[in-house]
Amino acid sequence: MTLSVALGPDTQESTQTGTVTSTDALTAPDIPWNLVIWNDPVNLMSYVSYVFQSYFGYSEPKANKLMMEVHKKGRSIVAHGSKEQVEQHAVAMHGFGLWATVEKATGGGKDGGSGKGKGKRG
């Protein structure tokens, strides 16, 4: 995640500092997909927690809770989002060596409840 900014001598006046455009706005926020992490006997618990903290920016308690859920229940939904978002996460997880898949959130697209806070576990 290093940010490399190479500025040539002729770019001083044209560096943009003001606007940050987000592509998130282009994706429908209410189409729920899940990113699922599956248990395996190889990945270290500490490493899985490290990946959740460093990649998703989750707090240590949250990362550990999700990691234990993977370990004990065999799988855990660790992120929600549009199909494109969770697919991008899945590739990143595969890069770290975690076993990740994507799936449509259960309960149908209209339900929407599984995307936020109280979603059922396991």
């Binding site: 990945n43 595969h94 990740a100």
Partner: protein
């Protein structure tokens, strides 16, 4: 003997004997050669540019399938389509981390920047995933069984040797990740 990684003033540091560095280098090279795509000579420059590869199929080798898993569980067609779009760059990403880790194996004293540490942890993880497939580790009981092999004088066949190598890389990765978690805590 190797010393566990630790986090201190110089960052994340560790110590490896020449024989241990040689071992890690050969393990890393093995995984790199597994990940290097078969045919790269005669290819469409556009394919190379955008990473889309219609010839990609699900790997038949179990270990390779673990390194490059399907993105869906019950939809092989969707998984294959996704693989054609992404597998190439995933392979390159993994090879990049493995090569970066191998570069740090030139001296006994190992000093890792945060980026180095990330590459090392990814590389060690991929090495362990491949070894685990070769050792047929399918569940926690298998892993426990392999874990009991700690004494190098027990290395009498290929499997026990592999088990000892697996345990060494596991120990090394665990100490590295602990040091990384500690450094994350300190940096906030």
């Amino acid at each position: 003997m190797a010393k566990a990684f630790k986090y201190g003033l110089k960052g994340i540091t560790g110590y490896l004997e020449p024989a241990e560095r040689e071992l890690l280098r050969s393990l890393i090279d093995d995984v790199i050669s597994m990940l290097e795509p078969a045919e790269s000579a005669s290819e469409d420059p556009l394919t190379a540019l955008i990473g889309l590869d219609m010839n990609v199929q699900e790997p038949s080798d179990r270990a390779l399938r673990r390194l490059l898993p399907n993105v869906t569980r019950n939809d092989d067609a969707a998984a294959l389509e996704f693989r054609q779009l992404t597998e190439r760059s995933l392979r390159e990403n993994k090879i990049g981390a493995l090569r970066a880790a191998a570069l740090g194996l030139d001296t006994n004293e190992v000093v890792l920047s945060p980026a180095d540490a990330r590459h090392w942890s990814q590389a060690l993880n991929d090495v362990r995933l491949v070894l685990a497939e070769r050792l047929d580790i399918r569940d926690d009981a298998d892993a426990e069984h392999v874990h009991t092999m700690q004494d190098w004088s027990q290395a009498e066949d290929v499997e026990s040797y592999l088990a000892l190598v697996y345990n060494f890389t596991t120990w090394l990765q665990e100490s590295l990740v602990q040091a990384m978690l500690q450094s994350m805590e300190q940096r906030g």
